[in-house]
């Protein structure tokens, strides 16, 4: 990784460019036009409208006026910091769990599956054939208080331990933080597995052979070769898992309770039940900004500006 980053840039500055003609000059912009327009219509305009709404004051019935109400932001931070915190803690835990589960799966499919590889890949994607909502609701049946899963963990006293940590309460799984984290992990697992698989699959097995020739144990080989080369997959996987998980509200609605509500739940309630559009918009913008800041920090930290 670091070795690669130090490769000096090639081309571009070496030969002076030929003087471009007028039509030639504009071609790149014309080529960018479709993407630029799509970006403008589907991203820039909605975001600007959202930011605008977040700075308005008033109500639905008397109308909203634009007043630079930055206090909306302060209000939602004061009121909804627990939901904010939960969003990031739950999404973070789910991301870590997803790596722990997805890495061995992706590794196995990439290196050990042989002819089963394509079938296994289809199985990874198979959950998408059913609606996200239905799959989440199915977990309420699987984890029900008197169901076999909960009864088993209760009988081996795992739930007593998680009760003590605060992950569950009253020796049940549903309507506890544990259920929400498990739900998030489950729902976003394919988004972790596929990028990991993609980055593992194209690694040259010769590298590990060479490491073996140089007396590296297979453990050393993994940590010095396989893991660093799979980092791009790890990073895109964590981003694809963390970002949607932090904004999710379906898992907290059906698997959690009011004690597990996340930022998405608060936005949902503000938009649809309280109908306070300006505060809802302020909360949405805050969540987006927080995620962007976290992601930039994370990407910088992992030294992978070129990868994402």
């Amino acid at each position: 990784m670091t070795a690669i980053a130090h490769v000096p840039p090639t081309g571009g500055t070496a030969t002076p460019p030929p003087e471009p003609g007028r039509s030639n000059k504009l071609t790149p912009y014309f080529l960018l036009l479709p993407a630029g327009l799509a970006l403008l219509v589907f991203f820039v305009l909605p975001i600007l409208t959202l930011i605008n709404t977040s700075l308005q004051s008033g109500g639905l019935e008397e109308g909203y006026t634009f007043t630079w109400s930055f206090s909306n932001y302060w209000d939602v931070w004061v009121d909804y910091w627990p939901q904010f915190l939960r969003s990031f803690v739950y999404a973070g835990s789910a991301t870590v769990l997803a790596i722990l589960i997805a890495y061995p799966i992706a590794y196995m499919i990439a290196f050990k599956a042989g002819q089963w590889r394509s079938i296994l890949l289809v199985l990874i994607i198979a959950p998408f054939f059913t609606s996200f909502l239905i799959r989440t609701l199915a977990w309420t049946t699987i984890l029900s208080d008197t169901g076999p899963v909960t009864s088993f963990f209760r009988s081996i006293h795992v739930l007593a331990l998680t009760d003590w940590i605060g992950l569950t309460s009253d020796s049940r799984i549903l309507a506890t933080p544990l259920a929400v984290i498990l739900g998030l992990t489950y729902n976003f697992l394919p988004f972790m597995t596929l990028p990991l698989y993609a980055s593992l699959e194209k690694q040259d097995p010769g590298l590990l052979q060479a490491a073996g020739d140089l007396y590296a144990s297979s453990w050393q080989g993994f940590w010095k070769i396989t893991w660093p080369l799979s980092l791009p997959g790890v990073i895109s996987g964590t981003l694809l898992t963390f970002i949607p998980a932090a904004g999710d509200y379906v898992n907290a609605t059906f698997l959690g309770s009011m004690r597990e509500s996340m930022t998405g739940n608060a936005i949902d309630a503000l938009f649809l039940r309280i109908r306070d559009y300006s505060h809802a918009a302020a909360l949405s913008v805050s969540l987006m900004a927080a995620i962007v800041v976290l992601v930039i920090y994370y990407v910088r930290r992992s030294g992978t500006e070129d990868l994402v």
Binding site: P17, Q56, R273
Partner: protein, 406 residues
């Protein structure tokens, strides 16, 4: 992947041509900065939305006489169906008797969702697709406040005199000038005795009995959950002060903090109750009647302190050219025999006096179901919820939303 990307010259993309990278990136960046600044300024200047209400509505010409049509929007499973032929007997009879053809659409799934659908058109001064639709009490109050519905011509609805006296002077519409009840239901406590072997008969027991800890759910519908709690505290949901409201919220908050209330639910509480995850919950009569078909052990208790009653109501939106036709349809369903025909399928509580007698001939067994035909004592214990101004409603919704995790 990293190696391939490294081949691209730093700072410029192949698509942007081969001239010096710095020039391209500076002009691009400044272009974006400039245009977004212009866009932002224009947008901010343009944006302030007016209020959505309608004042000074001038009635449009009524074409009911020449245009014998009517579009009625209602909730799903909310009108009688002949299972064999798939026809709607009471509605067919109306068409035959009056010569008005009715377009019956089941497109109201949620009060707020339906409101969001019709509001822009009405605010914009246009007629909506429906000439008549059915929504819940508090939404009717909101529609009246916004001027979205119009006053009935009671001369066209002589049968309105058949309305249950309890519903005649409802808080948001005294004298029922703008709305008439379609069906009603009660909110009370449903309980699955198989879970804890406890029969729950009061909100206080539901919210504080340690044996039920984590086995209780409440409805996300503020008017039912808070209404029942107000009653339990000895207050009147139809006439309360904010101090009393806050006491009810505090009582619920204590039950949330202690872990007594497992969660707040929408219509999905039935699954938890039947599966045994929940021993008792705040529930609606209609749902319990449906659940009892599969789990006959489930009970519905009206607390001694009283229960809340809600209604879904007919309203006629402004700008409709078929107002008289719509009034004739309302009149039709305020005939006891037609109301009975509909009630026999819907299993909710009919607001029409005389349905009980009509049902004796139609389906005497249904008379035995206390959830469909509640006795006088039960109905006397039922209260509706005070009508709120926008400001009051926001305050109550906000306090309740905070309780439910938002």
């Amino acid at each position: 992947m990293p190696r391939q990307q490294q081949l691209a010259p730093r700072g410029g993309h192949p698509l942007l041509g081969r001239y010096p990278a710095t020039r391209a990136s500076i002009s691009r960046r400044s272009f974006v900065r400039g245009s977004s600044a212009v866009g932002l300024a224009a947008l901010l200047a343009a944006c302030s939305t007016k209020g959505i209400g309608i004042t000074g509505y001038e009635p449009v010409q009524d074409r009911s006489d020449i245009d014998k049509k009517l579009t009625w929007s209602n909730w799903p499973f909310y009108l009688d169906v002949d299972e064999e032929t798939g026809t709607r007997p009471s509605l067919d009879a109306f068409e035959e008797a009056t010569g008005i053809s009715v377009d019956y659409i089941e497109d109201v799934n949620d009060n707020d969702e339906y409101f969001a659908k019709i509001q822009p058109q009405l605010t914009g001064g246009q007629a909506i697709a429906a000439d008549l639709f059915v929504v819940t009490d508090w939404m009717v109050a909101k529609l009246i406040r916004l001027g979205f519905v119009q006053e009935f011509d009671k001369a066209n609805i002589p049968n309105a005199k058949n309305i249950d006296p309890q519903l005649e002077n409802i808080g948001y519409d005294p004298g029922r000038k703008y709305s008439l009840t379609w069906q009603s239901g009660l909110a009370g406590i449903a309980c699955n005795p198989a879970v804890k072997g406890i029969e729950v008969t009061s909100m206080d027991q539901l919210l504080t009995d340690p044996a039920l800890r984590g086995k209780v759910t409440c409805l996300l519908e503020m008017r039912d959950t808070v209404g029942l709690t107000l009653l339990d505290l000895g207050y009147d949901p139809a006439d309360f002060t904010f101090e009393q409201f806050d006491k009810a919220i505090a009582k619920l908050q204590a039950a949330v903090d202690s872990g007594q209330i497992r969660r707040f639910t929408g219509n999905d509480y039935g699954a938890d109750l039947a599966a045994g995850n929940v021993a008792a919950c705040v529930a609606w009569t209609g749902d319990v009647v449906t659940l009892q078909a599969d789990s006959p052990d489930l009970q519905f208790n009206v607390p001694d302190a009283g229960c809340t009653i809600w209604s879904d109501n007919f309203v006629i939106p402004v700008y409709t050219p078929h107002k008289t036709n719509a009034e004739k349809l309302i009149n039709w369903y305020y005939q006891p025999d037609m109301a009975a025909l509909a009630a026999d399928y819907i299993n909710f509580i009919s607001p029409v006096v005389g349905v009980r007698e009509a049902m004796k001939e139609l389906d005497p067994e249904l008379l035995e179901d206390p959830l469909v035909f509640p006795d006088e004592a039960t109905l006397a214990k039922a209260s509706s919820f005070m009508s709120l101004t926008e400001e009051e409603e926001n305050r109550c919704n906000r306090a309740f939303a905070k309780l439910t995790g938002a």
